[in-house]
Amino acid sequence: MTHRFALVLFVASAVLIAVAYASAFLPGGAPAWAAWLLAFGTATIMLAAIMLGALRSALTSPGRLAFPFAFTWIVVFGGFGLALALPPETIDGPLWLGLPRRAAIILFGVGLLPMLVLPVAYARTFDDMTLSEDDLLRVREKASALRAEATRAALARETLR
C-alpha cells in the first residue's frame, strides 16, 4: 500500500520535473512557476525514493518513519518555497545565525536539518524496519536452500545426459 503510493509519487514527481524542464524551451525562457514545480517535484521525488527503499510492500503505513519523512519533505519544499517567495535581500536586512534570511533557510534548513533527523530515524528503526537478526538469518537460510536446490537440479541434468 505505502510502497505503491511511493511508486506513484515517484512517477508523478518525475513527470512534474520533466514539465518544469520542458518549460525552459518556451519563448522567453522558463516561467516563474517552473522553479516552484521543480522544487515540488524534487522534494517529492527524493521522499518517494526514500519511501520506496524504506517501506516493505506489506506495510500499510510508514509507522515510526512517518514523522521524519514528513519533516524532511516539509523542510526541503518549504525551504525552497520560502527562498522563492520571500523578498530579496537588502544591505541592512536581518541576519539569521550570521546569514541573510533566505541564505540561512537554504543552508541551515535544507542543508542541515534533514541531517539531524534522517540518519537518526534510520538507526532507530533499523532493527525492526530495515534488517533484523531474524531477517538476516531467513535470507541466509533460504539462499542456502535455493543454492542446494539449484545444485541438485544441475546434478540431475548431468545424470540424465
Binding site: L7, V11, A14, I17, A18, Y21, A24, F25, G29, A30, A34, A35, L38, A39, G41, T42, I45, M46, A49, I50, L52, G53, S57, F80, A83, P88, E89, T90, I91, G93, L95, G98, L99, P100, R102, A103, I105, I106, L107, V110, G111, L112, P114, M115, L118, P119, V120, A121, Y122, A123, F126, T130, L131, L136, V139, R140, K142, A143, L146, R147
Partner: protein, 501 residues
C-alpha cells in the same frame, strides 16, 4: 554545466614545509599499499576487499571517494564565482546518505553475499537475468570512468606540479604512478585503507581551515554584511544562478547520488550487514565536516576581495591556494595540499577498480565469456585503464574538462532507474532497464557532445544531466509498464527474497 574539476594551473607551492608534508603523506600511502598487497589473494579481495570492511572504514572511504579534489579547489572557486548557487551541488548531502542506505545499501550487501557479486552491473544482471543490461551498464560505467579518471589525473598532475615543481607532464605520470602502484598491488583493500587515512586528513584540514576562514573574515555576520554591501546576489539563496538551475543541481546531485558506483559499490564490502545501522550517521557527519572548507574559503576569499585585503583573483580556482598561502600557518596549508592530493587519489583509486571490474568481469559476462584469472586480469586492466586516462589527460587539452562534466550525469542517468528503482520495484522489467540505460547513455553523450562543439546548447536553467536523468526514469517506468506481462516471472527467487526483506 559547470566543470567539476581543476583544469587550470595552481600557483606555485614549492615551500620546504609543504614539500616535506607531501613527501611524508606519499610515504604513508605507499606503506598502506604495501600492507594491503600482502592481503590481496583473490579477485574477491581485489574488487570487494573480501567483504571484510568495518563500518567506519566503509563510511570514511565512501566519503573520501565522493569528494575528490573538487571539494577543496574547484568548489571554493565556484562559490567565489557564483556565490551561494554553488552550494546546491553539495546541499543534498544531508539527505543522500540516508537515502542511499534505505534504497540500496542493505540490498546490495545481501546480493553480494548471496550471489557472490562484486560489481554494480552484476547486480543489474542478477536483478533482470539479463546479460545485455549488465553489458550496457558496464559500458556506460567504463566510458564515464575513463573520463572521470582523466579529469582527476589532470587535477592531480596540477597539484603535484604546484607542490614539487615537476612540470605538468611529470606531475600527471607521477600522481598516476603512485595511485596505480597501490591500486594494482593492493586492489580496493589498499584503496579503502588509504581512503580512511586520506578522509581523516581531509576532515581535519577542512575544520581547521573553516575556523581560519571565519576568523579572517571577522565572523559569519561580518562576512555577510561585507558581501551584501559588495554584491546583493552573492549571498542570495541561488547565488548568481537562476532558481531553476540551482534546484536542478539539487535534483541531479540528490537523486543522481543513487547511481554513483564509487560509493554504491562499497556496500558490497561491509563485513557485517547489521552494522549498516550507523552508516548514514557516520557518513553524513564526515561529509558535512569535510565540506566546511568548500563554503568557508569561498566566502572568506570573496570577503577579503570585497574589503580590499586581497586583489581580485584572475582564476577562481586560486581561491583555496591563495587563502592558504596568505592567511593560514604554512603547516596547515601543507596539510590541505596533501589533503587535495589525497582526495583526488582516493577518487582515482575507486574508479580504477570499478573500471577494471567492468573490463575484466562485466563485459566478458555480457558476451557470455568468463575471464579465467580475474585477479591477474583485474590488475592488468587497472594498468591499461590508468595509462589510457593519463594519456587522455595529457594530450586532450580542453577535452578533458568535457569528459569530466558528463561523468556524474552518465552514472546517474544510466544506473539510477535500473539499479536503485529496480531493486525496490518488482514491476520493473528487463526491457525497461535496457531502455533506460540506453536513454541515459545516448542523451548524455549526444547533448554533451553537441554542447562541447557549440552546435547546440540547452536554454538557461536546464542541464543535460538533469534532462537525461528524468528522461531515463520516465523511459524506465514507461517501458516497464508496456512490458509488464514479463515482470512477474523475471526475478530469481533469491533476488526476490532480498527485494522483499
Amino acid at each position: 554545466m559547470i566543470a567539476l574539476l581543476q583544469a587550470a594551473p595552481l600557483p606555485p607551492l614549492t615551500q620546504p614545509t609543504i614539500v616535506a608534508v607531501a613527501v611524508v603523506y606519499f610515504i604513508i600511502v605507499a606503506s598502506i599499499g604495501a600492507w594491503a598487497a600482502r592481503r590481496t589473494h583473490t579477485a574477491g579481495d581485489f574488487f570487494v576487499a573480501g567483504q571484510g570492511i568495518g563500518l567506519f572504514a566503509l563510511a570514511i572511504a565512501a566519503m573520501s571517494a565522493t569528494l575528490s579534489g573538487f571539494a577543496f579547489i574547484g568548489g571554493p572557486g565556484l562559490i567565489y564565482s557564483i556565490g551561494l548557487g554553488a552550494i546546491f551541488l553539495v546541499l543534498p548531502a544531508s539527505i543522500t546518505n540516508s537515502m542511499g542506505a534505505w534504497v540500496l545499501a542493505k540490498r546490495m550487501r545481501l546480493l553480494g553475499e548471496v550471489r557472490g557479486l562484486y560489481t554494480l552491473p552484476d547486480a543489474i544482471g542478477a536483478r533482470y537475468r539479463s546479460r545485455l543490461a549488465q553489458g550496457l551498464s558496464g559500458t556506460a560505467i567504463l566510458i564515464a570512468v575513463i573520463g572521470y579518471m582523466a579529469t582527476n589525473i589532470l587535477a592531480l598532475g596540477l597539484v603535484i606540479n604546484a607542490i614539487f615543481g615537476t612540470g605538468l607532464g611529470w606531475g600527471i605520470w607521477l600522481g598516476m604512478g603512485i595511485t596505480l602502484a597501490y591500486s594494482v598491488s593492493g586492489g580496493i583493500l589498499a584503496g579503502i585503507y588509504t581512503d580512511v587515512f586520506q578522509g581523516s586528513l581531509m576532515a581535519l584540514a577542512s575544520v581547521l581551515v573553516f575556523v581560519f576562514a571565519l576568523d579572517v573574515g571577522g565572523g559569519m555576520a561580518n562576512i555577510s554584511q561585507t558581501l551584501l554591501a559588495a554584491d546583493l546576489d552573492f549571498l542570495g539563496p541561488w547565488g548568481k544562478l537562476t532558481p531553476l538551475a540551482a534546484i536542478s543541481f539539487f535534483f541531479v546531485f540528490g537523486i543522481g547520488s543513487l547511481g554513483q558506483p564509487h560509493v554504491v559499490h562499497k556496500f558490497y564490502m561491509l563485513r557485517d550487514p547489521r552494522r549498516l545501522k550507523w552508516y548514514p550517521l557516520v557518513m553524513t557527519a564526515a561529509l558535512i565536516v569535510s565540506l566546511l572548507l568548500y563554503f568557508g574559503v569561498g566566502v572568506a576569499v570573496k570577503t577579503l576581495v570585497a574589503n580590499g585585503s586581497l586583489a581580485a583573483l584572475g582564476n577562481a580556482d586560486d581561491a583555496t591556494p591563495t587563502f592558504l598561502l596568505h592567511f593560514t600557518p604554512v603547516f596547515l596549508a601543507a596539510l590541505v595540499f596533501s589533503g587535495v592530493a589525497a582526495a583526488i587519489m582516493s577518487t582515482v583509486n575507486s574508479f580504477m577498480n570499478i573500471g577494471a571490474a567492468a573490463l575484466t568481469h562485466d563485459l566478458p559476462v555480457a558476451l557470455n565469456r568468463r575471464v579465467k584469472n580475474e585477479l591477474r586480469w583485474g590488475r592488468i586492466s587497472t594498468v591499461v585503464i590508468s595509462v589510457a586516462a593519463a594519456l587522455l589527460a595529457q594530450v586532450s587539452g580542453t577535452l578533458v574538462a568535457f569528459l569530466g562534466i558528463f561523468g556524474w550525469g552518465l552514472f546517474g542517468s544510466t544506473l539510477v532507474p535500473a539499479l536503485a528503482i529496480g531493486l525496490n520495484w518488482e514491476g520493473a522489467t528487463r526491457q525497461g532497464a535496457i531502455a533506460s540505460i540506453a536513454t541515459g547513455l545516448v542523451l548524455t553523450l549526444l547533448f554533451e557532445t553537441l554542447a562541447y562543439f557549440g552546435a547546440y546548447s540547452f536554454p538557461t536553467g536546464l542541464t543535460v544531466s538533469g534532462l537525461a536523468l528524468v528522461s531515463s526514469i520516465l523511459m524506465f517506468f514507461g517501458v516497464s509498464w508496456l512490458t509488464r506481462a514479463d515482470a512477474a516471472g523475471s526475478i530469481d527467487p533469491d533476488v526476490r527474497l532480498i527485494m522483499e526483506v
